[in-house]
Symmetry: C2
Amino acid sequence: MANPLIRKLEQFSLLSPEDQRVLEQATARQIRRFGPREDLMSEGDEPGEVTVVLSGWVSRYKHLEDGRSAILAFLLPGDLCNPNISVLREMDHSVGALTPVTVAEISQPLFEDLTLNHPRISQALWREALVSAAIQREWTISLSQRTAYERLSHLLCELFFRLRTIGATRGRSCDLPVTQAKLAEATGLTLVHLNRTLQELRAANLVLLKSRILTIPNLEALMTAALFNPNYLHLGCAANPPERTAAAQLRNPDDLRVARDHRASSALDPTDL
Amino acid sequence: MANPLIRKLEQFSLLSPEDQRVLEQATARQIRRFGPREDLMSEGDEPGEVTVVLSGWVSRYKHLEDGRSAILAFLLPGDLCNPNISVLREMDHSVGALTPVTVAEISQPLFEDLTLNHPRISQALWREALVSAAIQREWTISLSQRTAYERLSHLLCELFFRLRTIGATRGRSCDLPVTQAKLAEATGLTLVHLNRTLQELRAANLVLLKSRILTIPNLEALMTAALFNPNYLHLGCAANPPERTAAAQLRNPDDLRVARDHRASSALDPTDL
DNA sequence: CGTCAGGTTGATGCCATTCAACTTAGGTGG
DNA sequence: CCACCTAAGTTGAATGGCATCAACCTGACG
């Protein structure tokens, strides 16, 4: 099994064997494990090591004063929990394990070495950060504009695409090791309404979800239902137009044709200028 | 009038006179103007210069395929529209002027010089980027968990704090040069409901908004109504706990006390600026 | 066999949307 | 100076999506 961080970063930059060796070492030095519902870090914490998810699912979340709380992001293997935290004084949100989790901790100096002395790694980390920001924006749109039905579809599309990037899908299926309650927190719906929306998706035969395994019989149809346009994930981003990378597989024409057509037909309102 | 970028970055790092000189030059080389509703850049655009807002209000926004659209962020003087865009292949959203706008364009090489050869500028830019991300997360929470009333209050709090940082407030007032329609797009509400929510805030005497001028008679009360906790703005972030920086002033209890004293009496005190 | 977490279902009500009309303020031209 | 126009703001009434409250079901597990 490939190192998840390497697999992730390869999507963004063509890493040399040396780059890969360095990353392999950096993620092997200090390993920690967490159980479900344990926090990896909390709001108010001061910067420590940079934490990389190696296995399991993690959530970024935040509490409101009165008890409400929201999931802000799902972090999957290969994702960084707190890149560049060192430049801020404290965490403004928390990060918690959703499943049993393994993480690698990279010390500040070592992380700086990665970013300063390995340009391709540095570039890949940059891109990773920008894609994270783009995902956050897309969540903003979902919450702002999409209906419950579209929101849930969109989230499932996003997760499926991201999991496929790191080789965590099997054909049309993947693990979805979270409860409906967590999906509700992430979509801004109540548990009850999420459950009903999920049932609508099942009834439309867009989604099978059972025993924590998600199957998407027809990804194109789900993408259409979600108004999902994967451009924000910046998948074909590696330096060269690649033939063999994970990113290339993701751009399998079959998957994206629908999305492209949508874009072509979405005209900007000319009166807007 | 100080350079808005310098004023903004000073919040995050103690800039040397040399740093300031360099920034002054970088933002003076190429100036462009845009009228309201003009786009500074559009989804799909390839990376060009780094764009800094010098005056006016700008929005980050994104369209859905079917015509819906959402504002993802307000960019104020001193904010960067597309930092580090160079590492991605294309914009995944658009940026448009809300008012008449002046921007400075910084070429890629020049921007790289800023980040590579001026460590304090580089650090400040980093912090700026992380605070932007934190703001985006906070918007996610607003949309996910807060009611219309809280959402609007929260947005107004945020804008007031950010404007104060760049010296664009006058006592308890500031310009709010956007229509209710734009506020609705940013809060994920319909125009009609935003209008009603605004009237609720007016009735509660938490907000005066007339002729594009916002007055907050009692900031503490508004913050309470919004569940607003300014920690995500990372205001006291400059290297030292400073006495004289904008950030320090923001945390000055006096500002809040004044707000408590008089109510509607001195609506607009045309002091500084 | 009891317990508990996760999932499902029904009944009810409210917050926000939708549709539609009206008002107000600025600007422009006759 | 008024007639007209348009963008922005305001108001009313009806509808509906989603929340809320409260059960109930299911399977895993000690």
